[in-house]
Amino acid sequence: MAFDDAYDALTDHEDDARWAYGTGFSDPLAGVPGDLPDGVDRADLAAYCLMLGDDALILSHRLQQWVTRAPELEDELALANIGLDLLGQARLLLTRAGAAEGRGRDEDELAMHRPPAEFRNVRLAERADDDFAHLVARLCAFSVWRLELLQRLTGSADPMLAAIAAKGVKEVTYHRDYAAQWVVRLGDGTELSHRRMAAAVDALTPLLGELFQPHPVETRLAAAGIAVDPAGLRAAFDDVWAYVLATATLTAPGVAPAVSPAAVLPASSSPAGAPSAASGGRDGAHTPGLVEILDEMQALARSVPGGAW
């Protein structure tokens, strides 16, 4: 690159060589067959991709809210990096959901134009962070759980889900490591940080039970070899979580069963075969935290009909 001519030919769209990184990005899913596996229920696969995609999209949003507010520059970089990884996972999963659904909805249609009750994320992802201890406690628990899930999903009968999971495993391994190190530093730091870390762990504990409750979609797809049954992740999660907390000189509170919070939103009409009573985020029952996120995330996209971005 000729530095004194950094501007040359900026308006010439034919020549990419002058840009430091070229124009395109390599497609992480290049070569992976995009066809749906034989016999898979399209609606179920779409719903499952939305579940895992929404988990990543919504937690990424919470991390984005920390940008410019981290306690140290290194954490600015790390949190933005983790937010980007999760956003990338969300984009792949939402795109797959749109393809499985077959109604022409793309990632942006799904992210920007669904109401809260059509979001399928676990409620752990949508909680606002009271402080940095809450941030790392939630990120740690989420990453421990998601890593176990993605590792198993690499064996999915859907080659696309398997490829997305394989990419995610590398990323979430780092997320778990980053968050666990902070849980340990804060738990075993000062008296104040220990107290705050313990309070953060207590606060998220009621939200953990939901991570392991199989939704009927997950149960059906797990039987077909496509999805992971989350009930099977519980033992591995408990082992790692207890180890991190013990290293942080914290005690592990029992993982409480999922309880509907007092202020849940009405769920949308349930798909056939699903329980009619909304029991959690997977059914579209959310806390006000999700409404706050979507108000922020969707407003601009919705305000310019027909806009090109």
């Binding site: 501007y7 940008v67 507010r69 520059l73 290194e74 933005a80 942006d108 730091g189 027909g306």
Partner: protein, 303 residues
Amino acid sequence: MTVTFDEAIARDQRIEPADEMPEGYRKTMIRQIAQHAHSEIIGMQPEGDWITRAPTLHRKAILLAKVQDEAGHGLYLYSAAETLGADRGDLTRRLIEGRQKYSSIFNYPTLSFADVGVIGWLVDGAAICNQVPLCRSSYGPYARAMIRICKEESFHQRQGYELLMTMMRGTPEQRAMVQDAVDRWWWPSLMMFGPPDAESPNTAQSMAWKIKRHTNDELRQRFVDMSVPQAAALGVTLPDPELRWNEARGHHDFGQPDWAELKRVITGGGPMNEERIRRRREADSDGAWVREAAAAHAAKGMS
């Protein structure tokens, strides 16, 4: 054979951290690098405010990556300042206590998503004009940091221009958003090159030390000459009635920015000065207990 500072400068050699250097050179370099680092960190805010609101996931990813790059630039630059004996924590305190400056451009608000594009095109573009010559700055660690930073800035500029091109192909409302953003950012971008040469007291010494390679007015002219055809390709009007090609000079003539406004913004009177510093001060004080805990934990490991 040892080479003196003056010989090294005369031969266009790089000055490295362990080399002897005049105290004035060291102080000037620390101040310049710190102000540059502060600008990267404060500069995360105007665009960072749009990450959660980006209208597509593609734009969200680009913006998040860009703001992360800026944090990274801040980190390398503070590290370069530390090679001269400065301390990052001390420089941060100087920033939040208002004792060291950052680029005045970041004291303007980002009012629409078109601002994200215009910051990439004009603000990052002006930064590239300023920074490309710094890749040949006499202080080695700074010059090497600038090479990497300029590569990333060129990518940032490209994404901004590409966003504007896309918006100009969108709705009439979007085209109006782009023009409005250009109208608001053009003059502040010209101010990024600093006061006119006649009123820039530090330029002569910085040029002699080869910290700086071109004067403020030279760089400003280069930026205007580069931006005019880009604006035409984009289909926007630059808000300067005096802007026209001067065949005899081989450059564009252009109007003067409101230098009184630059002085006002630099001395704290810009629209966003208080907010920018308040955010940084809050992040610093909110994070103090976290940094103390990390230090306490590390100390336990060593005992």
